[in-house]
Symmetry: C2
Subunit: 156 residues, 2 copies
């Protein structure tokens, strides 16, 4: 069950364009990238950004997700650090480039940041978004747990 | 310009089903409700929820928004408190009930929570979501500000 939920979490995350990543005192929109067979969440940034500075310290950070479209809401805790794995950068860059850039040209300034999730509180729809949101609203108002939308914690 | 942006912010927020609200150590998905001619963000909860307990203290809290659909990403700082304004509860309830409940029946347990935004860092698309996300990705990778998606701070 937990494995299924973890997979479901990654599967939905794959479809999300941007989450809000804790960077020092701020939350910044960042595009999460996933690579087949690897549970790290990868971000791409440039070398002198606030995000790069924060990641270079190696620090704990939250990633807050809310996607109506994918029926996924999550409060993720994890560890942010810079990766110097050039092979991984190539892999992630291929994902990014195919999404964003037709020419796929890569600047020397590009920095690969790894986000290692540790735990997450997750809300997920299990019967379509509308039904999920209805259940969420009901749960908020009646103080009861949603009947269909599920709320659980993942340990990675 | 600032007034326009503030209005645009509220206008897009109106279309968002749920944001992630800081409640103690957690971020919980909550549906923001807006009432015409009033800049408070209203939440509805039940009396014994963690959210109700937090709001009853009167506390500062963050509201983290990310909506691909509306092209709005925001990190809002504000003040959370319980409201005992019955007239306002009626107004907000009408908004909630018309969205969620056909019968509009209201439980005695319902609690109105007011969220007074103080400031917000906002990212907003100005040329369609796809273009915005492209610009965001470009900005992240090149370290330059997005050309079309705008990033600014609002004071409320």
């Amino acid at each position: 069950m937990t494995t299924d939920r973890k997979e479901e979490f990654y599967d939905r995350l794959k479809g999300i364009q941007a989450g809000m990543l804790q960077v020092g005192d701020r939350y910044l929109p960042m595009s999460p990238n996933l690579v087949e067979g690897d549970k790290t969440i990868w971000f791409i940034t440039a070398k002198e950004t606030p995000m790069a500075k924060e990641a270079s310290k190696g620090t704990d950070a939250r990633l807050v997700l809310s996607s109506e479209d994918k029926g996924l809401y999550a409060d993720v805790s994890g560890h942010l650090s810079v990766s110097h794995d050039r092979e991984k950068l190539d892999e992630v860059w291929n994902v990014v480039a195919s999404s964003w850039f037709e020419d796929g040209k890569r600047d020397d300034d590009v920095l690969l940041v790894s986000y290692q999730p540790r735990s997450a509180e997750v809300w997920m729809s299990e019967g379509g978004t509308i039904n999920f949101l209805y259940q969420m609203a009901r749960a908020q108002i009646t103080g009861k747990h949603p009947d269909l939308g599920s709320n659980f914690t993942l340990q990675f």
